[in-house]
Amino acid sequence: MRYLTARKRAEGKGAAHTGTRHHWSMTLSAVGLAFMVPAWLFVFGRTLGQGREAVLETFSHPFPAILTALVLVIGMRHFAMGATTMIEDYLRGTSKKLAIIFAVSLAWMVGAVGIFALLKIAL
């Protein structure tokens, strides 16, 4: 009988030694987003097209505000890690590094701007 799980046996393997963690992180964020995204699409779709008062009213409630924050932060993290994988597939050397820095920075920037807007609306 093997006491180690499949994931534990895979950890640390491969050229970068971090592939297993990367894969597990993407799995976690994917499952989280799978639960949140349909609800968020409904909230956002219903709010888009309304006047500013109605938009502020919607996002000052806890459920839409917290849901939007979670979708943004986890979604942007999922994006940054996926973009890193894609860039590693297609680019090499300095251009690879610059592209990864750009993608990760963009993800954090979008998350920060969204959280700032939500805080300003909700508080």
């Binding site: 799995t27 409904f42 097209g49 938009v55 996002f59 996926g82 939500l118």
Partner: protein
Amino acid sequence: MAEMKRVERPLSPHLQIYRWQVPMLTSILTRITGHALVAGVLLAVWWLLAAATSDAYFATANAVATSWFGDLVFTGSLWAVWYHYLAGLRHLYYDAGKGMDIPTAEKLGWACLIGSVVLTVITILLVQ
């Protein structure tokens, strides 16, 4: 010295070499939709920031977000998010070691393609 050791490794995946088929098309679409989604997120976050800022700023951002351009970005993003969603579920199914034989993989690919369009239409009808 480091330069001398560099080996010219092939970059994956080799899109221009293989004949197109459903599992390949649906795989690359997962990557394309995932990255294209950043356009919809940028527009949505800008619109939210404008709502948080002032009436004048919101008027500008809302005009863009509800214009034909905004409709195009958000409708495209809606299909992209549903496609990426179904393809992601397919990945979780693959990760469990299931559905990897070719007939099943092709059926799942068609399910992603058709299902994403159906879910997009349902969402538009629900939020209108």
